[in-house]
Amino acid sequence: MVTTDIRTNTETVLTVEDLRTYFTTRWGTVKAVDGISFDLRRGETLGIVGESGCGKSVTMLSLMRLIPIPPGRIVTGSIVLDGEDIIPISEQEMAQIRGSKIALIIQDPMTSLNPVFSIGNQVEEAITLHQDIPKRTVMERALDVLRKVNIPAAETRAKDYPHQMSGGMRQRVVGAMGISCQPQVLIADEPTTSLDVTIQAQYLKLLKDIQKESDLSIIFITHDFGIVAKMCDRVAVMYAGRIVEHGSVRDIFNNPSHPYTEALLASVPKMDRDVDRLFSIDGQPPPLHDLPVGCSFADRCPVVMDKCREQYPDSRQVSDGHVASCWRVE
């Protein structure tokens, strides 16, 4: 298929280079994110997958510069958003970028809205923060956004407080806040985990529609490969704070090249196959404050070699745009 809009696939909005975020804890330095790099093109959806505790959420917080300092700190790396590295800039400048250029939708719709403000008020705030426009326009804009996320009778519901809405509704409001200033990058941190399946599907469709309409780039953080298949163009698989495999959705699903990716895929239940038992990965991820010298997955890897315990595998090319950090990849 010929791409009609060349811009869509060429312009890079976000480049992350060798990002390391560490936490100082009682047990030592926890390397929650340990040298990840990726880029995100306009209108593209990147999925970041992995078990809980692999560093997905810390990656998300680092991109927003919301890491609590202390105990956390971004040790090295650069996050270039829209041509500007956001790591060295001041907190005030960052506050201006949050919400306007890069926005966030968090996992739990039940607790992510402030209980003492009406939802209209909260959406309006998101707009006022970044746009110097008269109050009337702000209100209209807020209602527009609420309509956009399919809130029925937006005028009346805007006066409601979070506790008066259902989980799915609240999640839409959170979404509305995220897109209210037309950001370039939207980070969705497991935005559908607490919703039931039909509402989840509706919500995902909504996100896709909005994305198509405004050429939004989305980073989808999830552990659900079903969602990845439905939503994403490319996937980065994270394990123990590092990206172990990175490629297009097709590459990852058809030709998983890291044993961890294979294991993850194997543990997804499939409709078209009869399985007696779901595959699960034995063992636990290594403690992030005490990573082994070699490959972090070595202890759980079914095809481990001596070399794996000696040195961490560098990133190796499997095919064009598909890389994996595994010694088996030649």
Partner: protein, 305 residues
Amino acid sequence: MQKYLVRRFLLAFVTLLSVSLIIFIMSRVSGDPRHIYLDDYSTQEDWDRMGVVLGLDKPYYQQYGIFLKGALRGDFGESVREGRPVTAVVIERAPATLLLGAVAFSISLMVGVPLGILSAVKRGTMMDTFGKVVALIGQSAPPFWLGIMLMFFFAVKLGMVPPYGKQDWNSIILPAVTLGWYYAAANLRLVRSAMLDVLDSEYIKLARAKGVNSRNIILRHAFRNALIPPLTFAGVTMGALVTGSLVVETVFAWPGLGRLAIEALFAFDYPLLQGVVITFTLIYVTAAFIVDVLYAYVDPRIRYA
């Protein structure tokens, strides 16, 4: 909202009624009221006549009815010591206590809330330690002793303020600080822990992600939520401020209801004592009701429940 307020109002009413019952029972248990009015030289006739006047010849429930009817009209009988209506004496003394309570309550808020917020925001720093020390001392020093010590240093030693009584504007400083201190400490702790919980919440994370700056995160988003627990506590505070006024007014010879109660007590002036106790309860119930309304205003979950 209306249902909530009606409920709170009914509760206030029931509370008043129960207190009046307790008071009535206690006044009867403590002995025949005629002993207070009549001395050893009165005759049996005097005794009986007095009984009829006070309604003591009727069964207890009717006596309570009479007491209640009087109380509703603001009539608690005559003070034995002062020889005039209890209500008049109480009304004369009430403003001093209300003033003291209001100033002390303001102190407890103006000291406790900002310190609590600072301690939470600057958790683990010197500021936090300072807040902890203030709270620990505030909740441990007995008010009667604290009052005496303050009086010794600031009035006796330094002569900065009058040691007792209510003459100049600055006589209120020591009693109000003494009374407010404990609740300042309590508010500090409550606000600090509420603030920590709120700052930890998802909605604060999302507000930051929206681009709200640190100052507004605290002042706009966190503050109102962090006010909810101390507001719940404010009802209790008000009640305890009443008790506290008993002690503090005694220490500083402050001419309010607390001292009046102690005076009435040691003069065996039961009618006066009853009047003061009922007034105290009334003040508490009213204050608690105001707090309930405020509470509903701050927390929409209650307003629309």
